[in-house]
Symmetry: C2
Subunit: 155 residues, 2 copies
DNA sequence: GGTTGCGTTCGAGCGCACTCGAAGTTCTAG
DNA sequence: CTAGAACTTCGAGTGCGCTCGAACGCAACC
């Protein structure tokens, strides 16, 4: 698993904060400072913990447009990287590709679509909350089973 | 979405407890009292919120054995239902079918395999914890985005 | 000047977990 | 007596999200 640097950076912040997630943390999540100028595909892939194949795939299904350099190689600018951070975050929380396609379609269509984007996000928020509740339950079930097997205490 | 009765029963408990999940809650989760005797496939499907197709599928790949009545119809006994509750809970938290097959193989192989089962469960516990952390982060990212769009406050 | 390495395009293939459809049986109600 | 519902088995099909391989280009290095 790559991109651990980024994740650890954020997660350690999470531990510190220990309350509801602060906006600062998220800012840092999307923070690509420390990297100058447009990035290559391998670089971006490592940053986001996806394969170059996946990045090309996202591009060909229209989730983003990427500039090319003189050799025809992709150059990912800060804007595009920020979009990718968002997209991968949404993917990680189970948003379907078609919803992502819909969403970026709205983004690219201009400011008029903000209300509809908001609706999508609100719905997704509820979905994620439900997922967390489900997982919490599954975690408890797992821990219960571990206890019945006389499992050693967890970290 | 069916089986909401069960879920809501448990989740409402969750809200009450509001601390780390108690063993009681899990007991209630696996509690099939209120239903007497072996159940039919439709009944079980509704209880677990899966399709009858899925239940037959689980059976044919060896996750469980189900008795038949005089007509060749499946009759799910309490023991089998309890296993299914566990299996679906593990599925919901992303355990792969092959791992589930492995696990039930161990269960059916007898008590000698308890240590290996424990290992699997401990590993799964860590996976679920990681998922929850990821989702928490995604939730924060979503809420951040909602905020930038001037979204109304969430429930 | 060949080889290594990193990139490109394109279409095809894959793994997972269902999901479905066809054809048949049996029970119940009208 | 017939229609409908609910079940059975079996093999085949589906949708998702990648994932891969082939054939190629270009640039740097010993």
């Amino acid at each position: 698993m790559a991109s651990d640097d980024l994740m650890n950076k954020v997660l350690s912040n999470l531990d510190e904060v220990d309350g509801p997630m602060s906006i600062e943390v998220i800012h840092r999540l999307a923070d690509t400072s420390g990297v100058e100028g447009p990035m290559g595909i391998a670089e971006v892939a490592q940053l986001l913990d996806v394969s170059p194949h996946t990045l090309r795939y996202y591009e060909r299904i229209g989730l983003l447009q990427v500039d090319r350099d003189g050799n025809g190689h992709r150059r990912y600018g800060a804007e595009v990287v920020r979009r990718l951070v968002f997209l991968t975050r949404m993917r990680l929380s189970g948003m379907a590709m078609r919803d992502l396609q819909h969403y970026v379609g709205l983004v690219d269509a201009g400011e008029d679509t903000v209300p509809e984007r908001l609706d999508l996000l609100l719905e997704h928020r509820d979905t994620v909350r439900r997922q967390i509740r489900e997982l919490t339950l599954s975690l408890a079930a797992t821990e219960y089973k571990i206890a019945t097997y006389g499992g050693r205490a967890g970290s």
